[in-house]
């Protein structure tokens, strides 16, 4: 399978702590994206990092990309209860160049 692998599968932290999620993939990529899914809702795009970038920030989000290790990480700083959701990485790894989604990390932030 070309699906990405997120690690950990589930993460439980206290409000104010940082949350780090990792994604590994197997193919060459043009970009890697992270999405969030709240319970019962569709996925929402968070951030895109291109293959020639190593780090990108957006508000409390920091994404890193290491193409030599074929891995990416998403850091959420000073987490809030509202950050409770599942987080997915996605990359263009399909045979037709379609986005391939990982299985997700379920983050629970406790007040």
């Amino acid at each position: 399978s070309q699906q990405g692998e997120e690690d950990p599968q589930a993460l439980s932290i206290q409000e104010g702590e940082n949350a780090t999620m990792n994604c590994s993939y197997k193919t060459s990529i043009n970009n890697l994206q992270w999405y969030r899914q709240n319970s019962g809702r569709g996925l929402v795009h968070l951030i895109l990092i291109r293959s020639n970038e190593r780090e990108k920030h957006s508000g409390r989000l920091r994404v890193t990309l290491d193409t030599s290790k074929k891995s990416s990480s998403l850091l959420i700083t000073a987490s809030r209860a509202a950050d409770t959701a599942s987080y997915f990485c996605a990359f263009n790894g399909g045979s037709q160049g379609n986005l391939i989604f990982g299985k997700g990390t379920k983050l629970s932030v406790k007040p």
Binding site: N30, G42, L43, H45, L48, F88, G94, G97, L99, F101
Partner: protein, 112 residues
């Protein structure tokens, strides 16, 4: 949900019956996708479209067909529903193939 409407939002049907799910967009995006989401599998691509009447298969296309007669509408049809097609189905759109995708709210389908 970024100008994307999925209908119905919930459906319960019986094995062997045909089912059609609709995705409607108001963004005039070229690409439209149908995914299914199942526990332990994440999001898997069923079919996608890159223009009116232009469609192609994804990773899990068996048992599904699609049609796109207008830019704004992408239909997913289960010709004869099976219990293994019980899932949550998401439609997504994008301007470019590897660009950001925008998702609908999903359709929860139960095949009894």
């Amino acid at each position: 949900d970024a100008g994307i409407t999925q209908s119905p939002r919930h459906k319960v049907t019986e094995t062997g019956t045909p089912v059609t799910l609709r995705c409607h967009q108001t963004e005039n995006h070229r690409y439209m996708y149908w995914y299914r989401q199942d526990p332990g599998h994440g999001l898997r691509l069923i079919h996608y479209s890159y223009g009116v009447k232009d469609t192609d298969k994804g990773e899990v296309s068996d048992g599904y067909s699609v049609s796109r007669s207008k830019t704004e509408d992408f239909l997913l049809t289960l010709e004869s529903a099976t219990s293994s097609q019980t899932s949550v189905y998401f439609c997504a759109i994008s301007g470019l193939k590897v660009d950001i995708q925008y998702f609908g709210a999903g359709t929860r389908l139960s095949v009894l």
